[in-house]
Subunit: 138 residues, 2 copies
Amino acid sequence: MMELTRKGEYAIRGIVYLAGKPMDKVYLLSDIAAAVDVPPTFLAKIFQQFSKMGLVKSFRGTGGGFMLGRAPENITLLEVVEAVEGPIIPNRCVVNPLNCERSGDCNVHPVWARVQGEVRGVLEGVTLKELASERQKV
Amino acid sequence: MMELTRKGEYAIRGIVYLAGKPMDKVYLLSDIAAAVDVPPTFLAKIFQQFSKMGLVKSFRGTGGGFMLGRAPENITLLEVVEAVEGPIIPNRCVVNPLNCERSGDCNVHPVWARVQGEVRGVLEGVTLKELASERQKV
DNA sequence: CCTAAAAAGACTTTATATGTCTTTTAGGGG
DNA sequence: CCCCTAAAAGACATATAAAGTCTTTTTAGG
Ligand code: SF4
Ligand code: SF4
């Protein structure tokens, strides 16, 4: 359980790749896709989502492509994951206790809240800069 | 992402209900299902899995039913969840680094290992006894 | 106005989740 | 031995989501 989807995995690969490149240049989607070994059409969808969230900037037409929206040290893995996978929700009652009529006296409920907090904490503590760096830091 | 399935949610409800009852009695699946508001046929499948793992004991025929396999304080939420949802795996490279040819120099890889550890840690720290108790402890 | 490249959205295929149904096996009681 | 009860097993059905493709449109440069 709790498995990241392909989409999420591809998303991370793609943006980490971008984070490892000089920031003031644009890169072709087709090149990124080839470099990180992801179907280009699929990665296109993913980068469109990134673009809407401001994680990357897109440029159309000749000489167009993508560049990172912010400095890599200011983008966390949490943002990247949530941009394409949606919020991290171990159970629907975490979103809103009203989603389950049992939430009132349910002892399991707070456990999921803790899980959510821990996961978010880990992912929030990792930036694209660290992920794109040569040597392991984590 | 990381959402528990219905199956997992139902599984927890069912076994927590059982954990809140006197342990040396058997309970009808149909009664448990009604009490925790889960389709009986579905809960049957879930309890069959529990039975195989020894989390519950089953008795067939007249006067049959289910009882908890061990004392509630000796069953963790982690066991329950993994019994029906499978192991907690944020990404397939956590199972085996060989599942991804990039795992060698991938900085993301250890992050998923950390996530897995944190989640397992939280769930392992909660027992059915706590979950079945009247007052919240967590 | 021609070409390059992303945006948008419809579409297809595959896999997983969420059940249901039927038949079989085991156990207890008359 | 027969019958009734209840779980086990496994086939079956449906719905939803994941994964990926294709076509058309928009934007920008030269
Ligand atoms: S029963 Fe408890 S853990 Fe399950 S969805 Fe409801 S509040 Fe959450
Ligand atoms: S690229 Fe890294 S994080 Fe992704 S599956 Fe491979 S090893 Fe794991």
